[in-house]
């Protein structure tokens, strides 16, 4: 589904990704772990096309398409979803309005008919309920006044409504208490654990992986994948830390 080959990227003039190669097939969940500043968020931004993140070398294909040729909104319409490490506040715009606009923009891009208000609300209610979020929160402005945990949960509600083919989840688990962690973990499994979908799960902690069992675990350090393995690699990292591993 996603093929990243020898990806180099700069933020400003600074090289951050330095030859990253990674491949995800449909049906797989990959965890990416790594020290702070390794370039994990940068990878998510580069894959979603954030302005200012410049690819200097390498290739990325997504379902056979050259991903790097697409605008951010086209990537979203093609099925790519980024769960933000720091979700952004948009004052005055309700979540309902935001998501309905976004979803219908994606649908339009794909040549599908827009969802009516009623159809949209039905989907939104289902997803909010499944993630234990009050509908009232969906009516509030996007992320404004939300706690850290609520913001992350809101990202998952968004993912549920948008129903992407590939989700890159950037530290969705950080800032969650143990109950919320389980709810979010269940949500990821429910929405994304499907034969035609894939997940790139960026995390620092084993504890999310207790709920969302990865098929593969990778270590990202200094802009490239330095080690890959199965779920046991995460346990090893938890025990020994990254330093040990790099050595």
């Amino acid at each position: 589904m996603l093929q990243i080959t020898n990806l180099h990227a700069n933020v400003g003039d600074k090289p951050i990704l330095k030859g990253l190669t990674l491949s995800l097939n449909a049906g797989e969940i990959h965890a990416i772990m790594g020290p702070n500043g390794a370039g994990k968020s940068t990878l998510g931004y580069v894959l979603s096309g954030r302005p200012g993140y410049e690819v200097t070398e390498g290739e990325v294909t997504f379902n056979g398409q050259n991903l790097l040729d697409l605008e951010p909104h086209e990537r979203a319409a093609a099925g790519l979803f980024l769960g933000f490490q720091y979700p952004v506040e948009i004052p005055g715009v309700s979540n309902v309005q935001f998501l309905r606009e976004a979803l219908n923009a994606q649908r339009k891009n794909r040549g599908e008919a827009p969802l009516s208000g009623a159809e949209f609300l039905k989907v939104a209610r289902e997803q909010a309920t499944a993630l234990g979020m009050d509908m009232e929160m969906l009516k509030r402005p996007v992320n404004v006044g939300f706690s850290g945990g609520e913001k992350k949960r809101n990202e998952m509600v968004q993912m549920g409504i948008i129903d992407p083919a590939l989700a890159i989840l950037d530290e969705t688990d950080s800032g969650l208490d143990i109950d919320a962690l389980r709810i979010v973990g269940d949500g990821i499994n429910r929405i994304m654990r499907k034969p035609d979908k894939a997940v790139l799960l960026i995390t620092h902690y084993q504890r999310l992986l207790d709920y969302v069992k990865p098929d593969f675990v990778h270590v990202l350090a200094d802009g490239r994948i330095t080690r890959s393995g199965g779920p046991e690699l995460a346990l090893e990292l938890e025990r020994d830390g990254y330093k040990e591993l790099a050595a």
Partner: protein, 500 residues
Amino acid sequence: MSDDMDIKDKAAWDAAERVADYEHGWSSDIETDFAPKGLTEDTVRFISAKKNEPEWMLEWRLKAFASWKTMTPPDWAKLNVPPIDYQDAYYYAEPKAKPKLGSLDEVDPEILRIYEKLGIPIAEQKLLAGVEGGEDGGLPQRRVAVDAVFDSVSVATTFRAELERAGVIFRSISEAIKEYPELVRKWLGKIVPMHDNYFATLNCAVFSDGTFVYIPEGVRCPMELSTYFRINAENTGQFERTLIIADRGSYVSYLEGCTAPMRDENQLHAAVVELVALDDAEIKYSTVQNWYPGDAEGKGGIYNFVTKRALCQGRNSKVSWTQVETGSAVTWKYPSCVLNGENSVGEFYSVAVTNNYQQADTGTKMIHNGKGSRSTIVSKGISAGHSNNTYRGLVRVAPNAEGVRNFTQCDSLLLGSLSGAHTVPYIEVRNPSAQIEHEATTSKISDDQMFYAMARGLNTEEAVTLIVNGFAKEVLQQLPMEFAVEAQKLLGISLEGSVG
């Protein structure tokens, strides 16, 4: 946030897709009768004669004209306006096929087509009613009575019979001058005096048509009233005049919309709006101003010099101005409230968008003469391109007005780095019991917000529209729904090409 607003949002965004894009840049083939070009006493007489006006009206106009000749245009606004050649314009243009109408069927079909194109709810079945209501099973049917002013003439007023049953008078001002001379004489020029300012005086001399509304004591107007103004003829100024009288304990919501076709030359629009609210009466006055703003290089566009003032004369009277200003090359406009009544309330909610080379100098005056009078000012300025956007507001408290309160919030949003936003508050408090609060912010659309919206599937322009609408939300939610819909869409359209 209330459920209501949420539904309004959704409905608005639904309906926005249906409302016509503002590409009102066409002019239509309606045959037009002009007054001779230029401005002399004869022009004034011509207009008055065309309208079969009574003698007192002509005299009033002539008096204004004589004064105007001695006046000079104001120069204190932060506007750069080239000198206007008042002799190089037409002051009266009338669609030739102008009907004196009993019903819509008699309107020139070409005019109806124009209104259709404008998305104006003039025909009953065309009302933007019952927009999809989401989960609560739909909104109540809304109806709007419309007075349509085309160039200089009111061409159609709808729902007249039904309004009359409620005792509401909704007329073109030329008709009202003939039919209700005492009411008109009592208030015309009493709220905005004849010599108030250069443009108001000019309007007194040459106003061509406009709207008159009277809501009798204790009556809640059974529907929203609306006037659509359109300048169609070339080189023609539009000088309309609106007078709304809300008698004791009455309520009315009035909407005003404007458009004009693209023209290379600048056209002058100098309207006067006078409102008066007696004891316990309330007037809600909403404007979506979408006159042609000129092209991307700043060529053409309407000069919008408008005087709007409300007299909150009665105890507990209330006037609320809401405006969404996206059009015009130059906007000079300060809808104001003179709060004479005890515990009277004035409100001003404004969104002004400027793009390319547009200039707006707009704001309000809240003149607190009454004890316990209160006012709220919320101004949202959005500047893009090379434009300049100024909020100018006065809050004045008279010496014997005890217990006055004012809250003012001015927020500016900048797109790009070439535009300007300015806030010029004047506060004159002569009574120590007054509580005056002023907050101001200036911000830019953040890259984080843009990327977040884009990562969810919105393109650049959709993302800007969404964020800007969020910024202006407090004001937009004051609008009646039909206008909220149009306004949300307009904000996006006005900012097209301003980011990215």
